[in-house]
Protein backbone atom coordinates (compact mmCIF):
# COMPACT_ATOMS: atom_id res chain seq x y z
CA UNK A 1 0.00 0.00 0.00
CA UNK A 2 2.81 2.36 0.96
CA UNK A 3 4.67 1.45 -2.21
CA UNK A 4 1.56 2.06 -4.31
CA UNK A 5 1.18 5.54 -2.85
CA UNK A 6 4.84 6.34 -3.39
CA UNK A 7 4.69 5.27 -7.03
CA UNK A 8 1.53 7.22 -7.60
CA UNK A 9 3.04 10.37 -6.09
CA UNK A 10 6.21 9.97 -8.18
CA UNK A 11 4.20 9.62 -11.37
CA UNK A 12 2.07 12.61 -10.39
CA UNK A 13 5.27 14.62 -9.94
CA UNK A 14 6.54 13.58 -13.36
CA UNK A 15 3.23 14.49 -14.96
CA UNK A 16 3.21 17.85 -13.21
CA UNK A 17 6.71 18.66 -14.49
CA UNK A 18 5.30 19.42 -17.94
CA UNK A 19 2.78 21.83 -16.50
CA UNK A 20 5.46 23.35 -14.29
CA UNK A 21 7.80 23.89 -17.22
CA UNK A 22 4.98 25.60 -19.12
CA UNK A 23 4.14 27.78 -16.12
CA UNK A 24 7.78 28.80 -15.59
CA UNK A 25 8.29 29.68 -19.27
CA UNK A 26 5.04 31.62 -19.45
CA UNK A 27 5.73 33.59 -16.29
CA UNK A 28 9.28 34.37 -17.35
CA UNK A 29 8.32 35.58 -20.83
CA UNK A 30 5.46 37.69 -19.49
CA UNK A 31 7.58 39.20 -16.70
CA UNK A 32 10.39 40.09 -19.09
CA UNK A 33 8.27 41.16 -22.04
CA UNK A 34 5.11 42.88 -20.82
CA UNK A 35 6.62 45.97 -19.08
CA UNK A 36 8.31 47.25 -22.24
CA UNK A 37 5.08 46.84 -24.18
CA UNK A 38 3.36 49.20 -21.75
CA UNK A 39 6.26 51.67 -21.69
CA UNK A 40 6.09 51.78 -25.46
CA UNK A 41 2.26 51.76 -25.45
CA UNK A 42 0.62 48.41 -26.41
CA UNK A 43 -0.91 49.81 -29.61
CA UNK A 44 2.36 51.45 -30.58
CA UNK A 45 4.19 48.16 -29.93
CA UNK A 46 1.75 45.95 -31.82
CA UNK A 47 0.89 48.21 -34.73
CA UNK A 48 4.01 50.35 -35.05
CA UNK A 49 6.01 49.66 -38.19
CA UNK A 50 9.31 51.04 -36.93
CA UNK A 51 11.81 48.70 -35.26
CA UNK A 52 14.89 50.73 -34.29
CA UNK A 53 16.48 49.26 -31.20
CA UNK A 54 19.62 51.44 -31.41
CA UNK A 55 17.85 54.79 -31.94
CA UNK A 56 17.73 57.35 -29.11
CA UNK A 57 15.18 56.74 -27.66
CA UNK A 58 14.71 53.23 -29.19
CA UNK A 59 11.48 52.49 -31.10
CA UNK A 60 9.91 49.05 -30.96
CA UNK A 61 6.99 48.22 -33.29
CA UNK A 62 6.43 44.63 -34.40
CA UNK A 63 3.66 45.13 -36.98
CA UNK A 64 5.96 44.38 -39.92
CA UNK A 65 7.03 41.16 -38.23
CA UNK A 66 3.42 40.15 -37.51
CA UNK A 67 2.57 40.78 -41.15
CA UNK A 68 5.71 38.89 -42.18
CA UNK A 69 4.82 35.86 -40.05
CA UNK A 70 1.28 35.77 -41.39
CA UNK A 71 2.36 36.29 -45.01
CA UNK A 72 4.82 33.41 -44.87
CA UNK A 73 2.33 31.22 -42.97
CA UNK A 74 -0.50 31.93 -45.40
CA UNK A 75 1.80 31.12 -48.29
CA UNK A 76 2.91 27.91 -46.58
CA UNK A 77 -0.72 26.86 -46.17
CA UNK A 78 -1.58 27.76 -49.76
CA UNK A 79 1.14 25.37 -50.85
CA UNK A 80 1.13 22.81 -48.06
CA UNK A 81 -2.59 22.27 -47.51
CA UNK A 82 -3.65 21.25 -51.04
CA UNK A 83 -0.62 19.00 -51.41
CA UNK A 84 -1.03 17.60 -47.92
CA UNK A 85 -4.78 17.02 -48.18
CA UNK A 86 -4.36 15.41 -51.60
CA UNK A 87 -1.70 13.10 -50.22
CA UNK A 88 -3.82 12.24 -47.19
CA UNK A 89 -6.84 11.43 -49.37
CA UNK A 90 -4.70 9.26 -51.61
CA UNK A 91 -3.08 7.44 -48.71
CA UNK A 92 -6.23 6.81 -46.72
CA UNK A 93 -8.81 6.30 -49.48
CA UNK A 94 -7.16 5.14 -52.67
CA UNK A 95 -3.63 3.83 -52.14
CA UNK A 96 -3.09 0.09 -52.30
CA UNK A 97 -1.72 -1.08 -48.98
CA UNK A 98 1.77 -1.69 -50.33
CA UNK A 99 2.16 1.89 -51.62
CA UNK A 100 0.74 3.37 -48.43
CA UNK A 101 3.23 1.23 -46.53
CA UNK A 102 6.05 2.79 -48.52
CA UNK A 103 4.85 6.39 -48.35
CA UNK A 104 4.00 6.57 -44.66
CA UNK A 105 7.60 5.97 -43.42
CA UNK A 106 8.92 8.39 -46.05
CA UNK A 107 6.60 11.00 -44.61
CA UNK A 108 7.82 10.36 -41.10
CA UNK A 109 11.37 10.74 -42.37
CA UNK A 110 10.46 14.12 -43.84
CA UNK A 111 9.25 15.19 -40.40
CA UNK A 112 12.60 14.16 -38.97
CA UNK A 113 14.77 16.30 -41.24
CA UNK A 114 16.25 19.14 -39.15
CA UNK A 115 14.96 22.55 -40.13
CA UNK A 116 18.47 23.87 -40.76
CA UNK A 117 18.76 21.33 -43.58
CA UNK A 118 15.57 22.68 -45.13
CA UNK A 119 17.01 26.19 -44.85
CA UNK A 120 20.28 25.08 -46.38
CA UNK A 121 18.52 23.45 -49.35
CA UNK A 122 16.45 26.59 -49.70
CA UNK A 123 19.53 28.82 -49.82
CA UNK A 124 21.38 26.63 -52.29
CA UNK A 125 18.59 25.65 -54.64
CA UNK A 126 15.48 27.74 -54.15
CA UNK A 127 16.88 31.26 -53.76
CA UNK A 128 18.95 31.21 -56.99
CA UNK A 129 16.00 29.69 -58.82
CA UNK A 130 13.62 32.42 -57.63
CA UNK A 131 16.19 35.13 -58.46
CA UNK A 132 16.54 33.75 -61.98
CA UNK A 133 12.96 32.85 -62.83
CA UNK A 134 10.60 34.91 -60.65
CA UNK A 135 12.63 38.02 -59.89
CA UNK A 136 13.62 39.98 -56.81
CA UNK A 137 16.54 39.20 -54.53
CA UNK A 138 15.54 35.57 -54.08
CA UNK A 139 15.22 35.68 -50.31
CA UNK A 140 11.52 36.45 -50.00
CA UNK A 141 8.01 35.66 -48.79
CA UNK A 142 7.77 33.21 -51.67
CA UNK A 143 10.89 31.31 -50.65
CA UNK A 144 9.73 31.12 -47.03
CA UNK A 145 6.28 29.93 -48.14
CA UNK A 146 7.67 27.15 -50.28
CA UNK A 147 10.09 25.88 -47.66
CA UNK A 148 7.50 26.08 -44.88
CA UNK A 149 4.88 24.55 -47.19
CA UNK A 150 7.09 21.48 -47.46
CA UNK A 151 7.91 21.51 -43.75
CA UNK A 152 4.26 21.48 -42.64
CA UNK A 153 3.40 18.56 -44.93
CA UNK A 154 3.99 15.82 -42.33
CA UNK A 155 1.77 17.65 -39.83
CA UNK A 156 -0.99 18.34 -42.35
CA UNK A 157 -0.91 14.85 -43.84
CA UNK A 158 -0.88 12.89 -40.61
CA UNK A 159 -3.65 14.93 -38.99
CA UNK A 160 -5.77 14.88 -42.17
CA UNK A 161 -5.27 11.13 -42.41
CA UNK A 162 -6.39 10.66 -38.83
CA UNK A 163 -9.46 12.74 -39.61
CA UNK A 164 -10.30 10.73 -42.74
CA UNK A 165 -9.66 7.41 -41.03
CA UNK A 166 -11.92 8.30 -38.14
CA UNK A 167 -14.87 8.55 -40.56
CA UNK A 168 -16.75 5.28 -39.98
CA UNK A 169 -16.23 2.70 -42.70
CA UNK A 170 -19.99 2.24 -42.73
CA UNK A 171 -20.44 5.76 -44.23
CA UNK A 172 -18.28 4.77 -47.17
CA UNK A 173 -20.01 1.41 -47.58
CA UNK A 174 -23.41 3.07 -47.49
CA UNK A 175 -22.30 5.48 -50.18
CA UNK A 176 -20.72 2.78 -52.36
CA UNK A 177 -23.84 0.67 -51.99
CA UNK A 178 -25.84 3.57 -53.44
CA UNK A 179 -23.76 3.49 -56.59
CA UNK A 180 -21.27 6.22 -55.76
CA UNK A 181 -17.77 5.93 -57.17
CA UNK A 182 -14.67 6.19 -55.02
CA UNK A 183 -14.24 9.89 -55.71
CA UNK A 184 -17.95 10.69 -55.28
CA UNK A 185 -17.82 8.95 -51.92
CA UNK A 186 -14.73 10.89 -50.87
CA UNK A 187 -16.07 14.24 -52.04
CA UNK A 188 -19.67 13.97 -50.87
CA UNK A 189 -19.41 11.78 -47.77
CA UNK A 190 -15.94 11.30 -46.34
CA UNK A 191 -14.58 14.85 -46.63
CA UNK A 192 -17.70 16.55 -45.19
CA UNK A 193 -17.74 14.05 -42.33
CA UNK A 194 -14.04 14.71 -41.63
CA UNK A 195 -14.40 18.49 -41.88
CA UNK A 196 -13.58 19.28 -38.26
CA UNK A 197 -10.39 17.23 -38.31
CA UNK A 198 -9.31 18.87 -41.55
CA UNK A 199 -9.74 22.32 -40.02
CA UNK A 200 -7.60 21.15 -37.12
CA UNK A 201 -4.96 20.03 -39.63
CA UNK A 202 -4.91 23.50 -41.16
CA UNK A 203 -4.61 25.22 -37.81
CA UNK A 204 -1.91 22.94 -36.44
CA UNK A 205 -0.03 23.33 -39.73
CA UNK A 206 -0.35 27.08 -39.20
CA UNK A 207 1.02 26.75 -35.69
CA UNK A 208 3.98 24.82 -37.02
CA UNK A 209 4.63 27.43 -39.71
CA UNK A 210 4.29 30.42 -37.36
CA UNK A 211 6.71 28.87 -34.90
CA UNK A 212 9.40 27.75 -37.34
CA UNK A 213 12.60 29.80 -37.08
CA UNK A 214 15.85 28.49 -38.50
CA UNK A 215 14.74 27.62 -42.04
CA UNK A 216 12.83 30.90 -42.22
CA UNK A 217 15.83 33.01 -41.21
CA UNK A 218 17.85 31.35 -43.92
CA UNK A 219 15.48 32.03 -46.82
CA UNK A 220 13.37 35.11 -46.11
CA UNK A 221 15.99 37.86 -46.09
CA UNK A 222 14.92 39.27 -42.68
CA UNK A 223 14.37 42.89 -43.73
CA UNK A 224 11.98 44.70 -41.38
CA UNK A 225 9.36 45.89 -43.84
CA UNK A 226 5.78 45.24 -44.85
CA UNK A 227 6.15 43.28 -48.10
CA UNK A 228 4.50 44.71 -51.21
CA UNK A 229 4.94 41.56 -53.27
CA UNK A 230 5.79 37.94 -52.64
CA UNK A 231 9.28 38.41 -54.05
CA UNK A 232 10.26 40.90 -51.35
CA UNK A 233 12.14 39.89 -48.21
CA UNK A 234 10.42 39.91 -44.81
CA UNK A 235 11.23 39.25 -41.20
CA UNK A 236 9.03 37.02 -39.01
CA UNK A 237 8.45 37.25 -35.26
CA UNK A 238 10.57 34.18 -34.59
CA UNK A 239 13.41 35.40 -36.79
CA UNK A 240 13.38 38.74 -34.97
CA UNK A 241 14.04 37.07 -31.64
CA UNK A 242 16.64 34.62 -32.92
CA UNK A 243 18.57 37.22 -34.92
CA UNK A 244 18.92 39.87 -32.24
CA UNK A 245 18.94 38.03 -28.93
CA UNK A 246 22.72 37.46 -29.21
CA UNK A 247 23.68 41.06 -28.75
CA UNK A 248 20.57 42.60 -27.20
CA UNK A 249 20.57 44.00 -23.69
CA UNK A 250 18.43 46.25 -21.54
CA UNK A 251 15.24 47.48 -23.13
CA UNK A 252 16.11 45.90 -26.48
CA UNK A 253 16.28 42.49 -24.82
CA UNK A 254 12.93 43.13 -23.14
CA UNK A 255 11.43 44.07 -26.50
CA UNK A 256 12.53 40.72 -27.90
CA UNK A 257 10.76 39.00 -25.00
CA UNK A 258 7.71 41.09 -25.85
CA UNK A 259 7.95 39.76 -29.41
CA UNK A 260 7.88 36.33 -27.78
CA UNK A 261 4.71 37.29 -25.90
CA UNK A 262 3.00 38.17 -29.20
CA UNK A 263 4.14 34.87 -30.74
CA UNK A 264 3.00 32.99 -27.67
CA UNK A 265 -0.44 34.61 -27.84
CA UNK A 266 -0.81 33.78 -31.54
CA UNK A 267 0.08 30.12 -30.99
CA UNK A 268 -2.20 29.86 -27.96
CA UNK A 269 -5.09 31.25 -30.00
CA UNK A 270 -4.43 28.83 -32.86
CA UNK A 271 -4.26 25.82 -30.54
CA UNK A 272 -7.42 26.85 -28.74
CA UNK A 273 -9.26 27.17 -32.06
CA UNK A 274 -7.95 23.77 -33.19
CA UNK A 275 -9.11 22.13 -29.97
CA UNK A 276 -12.51 23.80 -30.07
CA UNK A 277 -13.09 22.83 -33.68
CA UNK A 278 -12.15 19.20 -33.23
CA UNK A 279 -14.31 19.01 -30.10
CA UNK A 280 -17.24 20.48 -32.06
CA UNK A 281 -16.65 17.93 -34.82
CA UNK A 282 -16.68 15.03 -32.40
CA UNK A 283 -19.99 16.14 -30.94
CA UNK A 284 -21.89 16.40 -34.23
Amino acid sequence: MKKETAIRLTLLGLAMSTVTALAVITTFILKEGVPVMFRQGPAQFLFGTEWRPSAEPPVFGVWAMIVGSFAVTAGALAIGFPVGLGSAIFLSEFAPRRIAGLLKPALELLAGIPSVVFGFMGMLVLLPWIRAHVGGPGASVLAGSIILGIMILPTVISISMDALRSVPRSYREGSFALGATGWQTTWRVTLPAARAGLVAAVILGMGRAVGETMAVIMVTGNTVQIPRSITQPVRTLTSNIALEMNYADGEHREALFATGVVLFAIIMILNTIANAVSRLGRRS
Binding site: S170, E173, G174, A177, L178, G179, T181, R188
Partner: protein, 251 residues
Protein backbone atom coordinates in the same frame (compact mmCIF):
# COMPACT_ATOMS: atom_id res chain seq x y z
CA UNK B 1 -39.10 -17.73 -65.76
CA UNK B 2 -35.36 -17.24 -65.67
CA UNK B 3 -33.71 -16.49 -62.34
CA UNK B 4 -32.68 -12.92 -61.60
CA UNK B 5 -29.65 -13.98 -59.61
CA UNK B 6 -27.96 -17.29 -60.07
CA UNK B 7 -24.98 -18.80 -58.27
CA UNK B 8 -23.41 -21.97 -59.65
CA UNK B 9 -20.57 -23.60 -57.78
CA UNK B 10 -19.89 -20.17 -56.30
CA UNK B 11 -17.10 -20.01 -53.73
CA UNK B 12 -15.39 -17.25 -51.78
CA UNK B 13 -12.16 -17.30 -49.85
CA UNK B 14 -10.64 -14.51 -47.76
CA UNK B 15 -6.90 -14.62 -47.33
CA UNK B 16 -6.90 -18.25 -48.51
CA UNK B 17 -9.53 -19.45 -46.04
CA UNK B 18 -12.75 -20.67 -47.66
CA UNK B 19 -15.80 -18.74 -46.50
CA UNK B 20 -18.30 -20.09 -49.03
CA UNK B 21 -18.00 -23.38 -50.92
CA UNK B 22 -19.77 -24.60 -54.06
CA UNK B 23 -22.93 -22.58 -53.60
CA UNK B 24 -25.81 -23.34 -55.98
CA UNK B 25 -28.62 -20.92 -55.34
CA UNK B 26 -30.93 -18.68 -57.34
CA UNK B 27 -33.34 -15.83 -56.79
CA UNK B 28 -36.43 -15.51 -58.97
CA UNK B 29 -38.00 -12.18 -59.94
CA UNK B 30 -40.54 -10.88 -57.40
CA UNK B 31 -39.72 -13.27 -54.64
CA UNK B 32 -38.32 -12.91 -51.15
CA UNK B 33 -35.52 -15.34 -50.45
CA UNK B 34 -34.29 -15.51 -46.91
CA UNK B 35 -30.91 -16.87 -45.98
CA UNK B 36 -30.58 -18.21 -42.48
CA UNK B 37 -27.70 -19.76 -40.60
CA UNK B 38 -25.51 -19.19 -37.57
CA UNK B 39 -22.82 -16.51 -37.41
CA UNK B 40 -19.86 -17.23 -39.66
CA UNK B 41 -21.86 -19.31 -42.11
CA UNK B 42 -21.11 -16.99 -45.04
CA UNK B 43 -24.53 -15.33 -45.38
CA UNK B 44 -23.28 -11.76 -45.30
CA UNK B 45 -20.30 -12.57 -47.50
CA UNK B 46 -22.64 -13.95 -50.16
CA UNK B 47 -24.81 -10.86 -49.94
CA UNK B 48 -21.83 -8.53 -50.30
CA UNK B 49 -20.68 -10.43 -53.39
CA UNK B 50 -23.95 -9.75 -55.20
CA UNK B 51 -23.28 -5.98 -55.20
CA UNK B 52 -19.48 -6.35 -55.15
CA UNK B 53 -19.04 -4.56 -51.82
CA UNK B 54 -16.80 -7.59 -51.42
CA UNK B 55 -14.24 -5.54 -53.37
CA UNK B 56 -13.62 -3.57 -50.18
CA UNK B 57 -12.42 -6.69 -48.40
CA UNK B 58 -8.69 -7.18 -48.93
CA UNK B 59 -7.47 -10.58 -50.20
CA UNK B 60 -10.96 -11.78 -51.13
CA UNK B 61 -11.10 -14.21 -54.05
CA UNK B 62 -14.11 -15.76 -55.76
CA UNK B 63 -14.58 -18.90 -57.85
CA UNK B 64 -17.49 -20.35 -59.81
CA UNK B 65 -20.32 -18.37 -61.36
CA UNK B 66 -22.51 -15.58 -60.01
CA UNK B 67 -24.83 -13.83 -62.46
CA UNK B 68 -27.34 -11.01 -62.25
CA UNK B 69 -29.85 -10.87 -65.11
CA UNK B 70 -27.64 -13.32 -66.98
CA UNK B 71 -24.47 -11.22 -66.72
CA UNK B 72 -21.48 -12.21 -64.62
CA UNK B 73 -21.25 -10.05 -61.51
CA UNK B 74 -17.48 -10.51 -61.30
CA UNK B 75 -16.96 -10.10 -65.07
CA UNK B 76 -14.26 -7.52 -65.82
CA UNK B 77 -16.67 -5.33 -67.81
CA UNK B 78 -19.06 -4.88 -64.87
CA UNK B 79 -19.69 -1.21 -64.11
CA UNK B 80 -19.67 -1.17 -60.29
CA UNK B 81 -21.72 2.00 -59.85
CA UNK B 82 -24.35 0.65 -62.26
CA UNK B 83 -24.37 -2.76 -60.57
CA UNK B 84 -24.86 -1.19 -57.15
CA UNK B 85 -27.77 0.87 -58.43
CA UNK B 86 -29.50 -2.25 -59.68
CA UNK B 87 -28.72 -4.08 -56.44
CA UNK B 88 -29.68 -2.00 -53.42
CA UNK B 89 -28.43 -2.88 -49.98
CA UNK B 90 -29.60 -2.20 -46.44
CA UNK B 91 -27.14 -2.93 -43.65
CA UNK B 92 -27.56 -4.42 -40.21
CA UNK B 93 -26.77 -1.16 -38.47
CA UNK B 94 -28.70 1.74 -40.02
CA UNK B 95 -26.21 4.34 -41.18
CA UNK B 96 -27.88 7.48 -42.49
CA UNK B 97 -25.33 9.87 -43.92
CA UNK B 98 -24.77 12.87 -41.66
CA UNK B 99 -27.18 15.11 -43.57
CA UNK B 100 -30.91 15.81 -43.75
CA UNK B 101 -33.60 13.19 -44.30
CA UNK B 102 -34.30 14.70 -47.71
CA UNK B 103 -30.65 14.70 -48.74
CA UNK B 104 -30.23 11.11 -47.60
CA UNK B 105 -32.99 9.97 -49.92
CA UNK B 106 -31.85 11.98 -52.95
CA UNK B 107 -28.15 11.07 -52.51
CA UNK B 108 -28.37 8.31 -55.14
CA UNK B 109 -30.58 10.18 -57.64
CA UNK B 110 -28.31 13.24 -57.38
CA UNK B 111 -25.32 11.05 -58.27
CA UNK B 112 -27.27 10.07 -61.37
CA UNK B 113 -27.48 13.76 -62.24
CA UNK B 114 -31.14 14.38 -61.39
CA UNK B 115 -31.40 18.04 -60.36
CA UNK B 116 -35.02 18.92 -61.08
CA UNK B 117 -36.50 19.85 -57.70
CA UNK B 118 -40.03 18.61 -58.37
CA UNK B 119 -38.73 15.27 -59.58
CA UNK B 120 -36.58 14.90 -56.47
CA UNK B 121 -39.52 15.89 -54.27
CA UNK B 122 -41.62 13.20 -55.93
CA UNK B 123 -38.91 10.59 -55.40
CA UNK B 124 -38.63 11.52 -51.72
CA UNK B 125 -42.36 11.20 -51.11
CA UNK B 126 -42.74 7.99 -53.09
CA UNK B 127 -39.83 6.15 -51.48
CA UNK B 128 -40.56 7.34 -47.94
CA UNK B 129 -44.13 6.10 -48.38
CA UNK B 130 -42.86 2.78 -49.71
CA UNK B 131 -40.60 2.48 -46.67
CA UNK B 132 -43.57 3.23 -44.35
CA UNK B 133 -41.84 6.33 -42.99
CA UNK B 134 -43.53 9.23 -44.78
CA UNK B 135 -46.22 9.96 -42.19
CA UNK B 136 -43.65 10.16 -39.40
CA UNK B 137 -41.23 12.56 -41.10
CA UNK B 138 -43.13 14.50 -43.76
CA UNK B 139 -43.10 17.68 -41.66
CA UNK B 140 -39.37 17.59 -40.87
CA UNK B 141 -37.57 16.47 -44.00
CA UNK B 142 -34.88 19.04 -43.28
CA UNK B 143 -33.77 17.57 -39.96
CA UNK B 144 -30.70 15.40 -39.79
CA UNK B 145 -31.17 11.73 -40.61
CA UNK B 146 -29.03 10.82 -37.63
CA UNK B 147 -31.62 12.35 -35.25
CA UNK B 148 -34.27 9.72 -36.05
CA UNK B 149 -34.86 6.65 -33.89
CA UNK B 150 -33.11 3.40 -34.83
CA UNK B 151 -36.18 1.94 -36.50
CA UNK B 152 -36.82 5.16 -38.43
CA UNK B 153 -33.19 5.34 -39.50
CA UNK B 154 -33.41 1.83 -40.91
CA UNK B 155 -36.52 2.73 -42.89
CA UNK B 156 -34.75 5.88 -44.10
CA UNK B 157 -31.92 3.66 -45.33
CA UNK B 158 -34.49 1.51 -47.09
CA UNK B 159 -36.03 4.59 -48.72
CA UNK B 160 -32.74 5.90 -49.99
CA UNK B 161 -32.01 2.55 -51.61
CA UNK B 162 -35.46 2.45 -53.20
CA UNK B 163 -34.82 5.89 -54.70
CA UNK B 164 -32.54 4.15 -57.20
CA UNK B 165 -35.33 1.76 -58.26
CA UNK B 166 -33.21 -1.35 -57.84
CA UNK B 167 -34.08 -4.76 -59.27
CA UNK B 168 -32.88 -6.52 -56.15
CA UNK B 169 -32.86 -5.51 -52.53
CA UNK B 170 -30.23 -7.05 -50.30
CA UNK B 171 -31.03 -6.87 -46.61
CA UNK B 172 -28.30 -7.81 -44.17
CA UNK B 173 -30.03 -8.60 -40.87
CA UNK B 174 -32.00 -5.37 -41.24
CA UNK B 175 -33.96 -5.86 -38.03
CA UNK B 176 -31.25 -7.16 -35.71
CA UNK B 177 -31.18 -3.93 -33.71
CA UNK B 178 -34.87 -3.02 -33.96
CA UNK B 179 -37.87 -3.33 -31.70
CA UNK B 180 -40.82 -5.54 -32.76
CA UNK B 181 -42.92 -2.62 -34.01
CA UNK B 182 -40.19 -1.28 -36.27
CA UNK B 183 -39.49 -4.81 -37.44
CA UNK B 184 -43.14 -5.26 -38.36
CA UNK B 185 -43.05 -2.01 -40.36
CA UNK B 186 -40.00 -3.16 -42.32
CA UNK B 187 -41.63 -6.52 -43.03
CA UNK B 188 -44.81 -4.74 -44.13
CA UNK B 189 -42.76 -2.61 -46.52
CA UNK B 190 -41.08 -5.69 -47.99
CA UNK B 191 -44.39 -7.36 -48.78
CA UNK B 192 -45.60 -4.24 -50.57
CA UNK B 193 -42.39 -3.98 -52.56
CA UNK B 194 -42.52 -7.53 -53.86
CA UNK B 195 -44.36 -6.69 -57.10
CA UNK B 196 -41.48 -4.38 -58.05
CA UNK B 197 -38.37 -6.25 -57.04
CA UNK B 198 -36.72 -9.29 -55.54
CA UNK B 199 -35.47 -9.39 -51.99
CA UNK B 200 -32.63 -11.36 -50.47
CA UNK B 201 -33.05 -11.24 -46.73
CA UNK B 202 -30.21 -12.40 -44.54
CA UNK B 203 -31.50 -12.89 -41.04
CA UNK B 204 -30.52 -14.37 -37.71
CA UNK B 205 -34.16 -14.47 -36.79
CA UNK B 206 -35.60 -17.78 -37.94
CA UNK B 207 -39.14 -16.61 -37.23
CA UNK B 208 -38.67 -13.61 -39.47
CA UNK B 209 -37.63 -15.89 -42.30
CA UNK B 210 -40.69 -18.05 -41.72
CA UNK B 211 -43.01 -15.02 -41.64
CA UNK B 212 -41.84 -13.02 -44.57
CA UNK B 213 -40.08 -15.10 -47.21
CA UNK B 214 -41.22 -17.26 -50.13
CA UNK B 215 -38.17 -19.48 -50.09
CA UNK B 216 -35.48 -20.08 -47.50
CA UNK B 217 -31.88 -21.20 -47.79
CA UNK B 218 -29.96 -22.58 -44.84
CA UNK B 219 -26.20 -22.01 -44.80
CA UNK B 220 -23.82 -23.67 -42.37
CA UNK B 221 -20.06 -23.11 -42.27
CA UNK B 222 -19.96 -21.85 -45.84
CA UNK B 223 -22.11 -24.61 -47.33
CA UNK B 224 -25.70 -24.63 -48.48
CA UNK B 225 -27.35 -27.34 -46.42
CA UNK B 226 -30.85 -27.03 -47.80
CA UNK B 227 -33.15 -24.65 -49.62
CA UNK B 228 -36.76 -24.72 -50.66
CA UNK B 229 -40.17 -23.19 -50.17
CA UNK B 230 -40.30 -21.62 -46.76
CA UNK B 231 -43.52 -23.33 -45.73
CA UNK B 232 -42.16 -26.77 -46.62
CA UNK B 233 -38.77 -26.22 -45.12
CA UNK B 234 -40.11 -25.12 -41.80
CA UNK B 235 -42.61 -27.97 -41.53
CA UNK B 236 -40.59 -30.83 -42.99
CA UNK B 237 -36.89 -30.11 -43.38
CA UNK B 238 -35.01 -32.89 -45.15
CA UNK B 239 -31.71 -32.42 -43.32
CA UNK B 240 -31.46 -33.03 -39.59
CA UNK B 241 -29.09 -30.04 -39.23
CA UNK B 242 -31.78 -27.76 -40.64
CA UNK B 243 -34.28 -29.20 -38.23
CA UNK B 244 -31.89 -28.68 -35.31
CA UNK B 245 -31.22 -25.08 -36.31
CA UNK B 246 -34.80 -23.95 -36.91
CA UNK B 247 -35.98 -25.64 -33.78
CA UNK B 248 -33.35 -23.78 -31.81
CA UNK B 249 -31.03 -26.67 -30.85
CA UNK B 250 -27.99 -24.63 -31.90
CA UNK B 251 -27.20 -21.30 -33.49
Amino acid sequence: MTPLIEAKGFGVSIGGAAVLRGLDLHVMPHEILSIIGPAGSGKTTFLRCINRLSDLVPDLAVSGVLTLEGRGVFAPETDLADLRRRVGMVFAVPIPLPRSIYENVVFGPRLLGIRDRSRLDAIVEKTLRAAVLWDEVKDRLGTSGTKLSGGQQQRLCLARVLALEPKVLLLDEPCSGLDPISTAKIEEALQELKPQLSVVLVTNNVKQAARSSDRTAFLLMGELVEHGRTAEMFTSPTDTRTNDYISGKFG
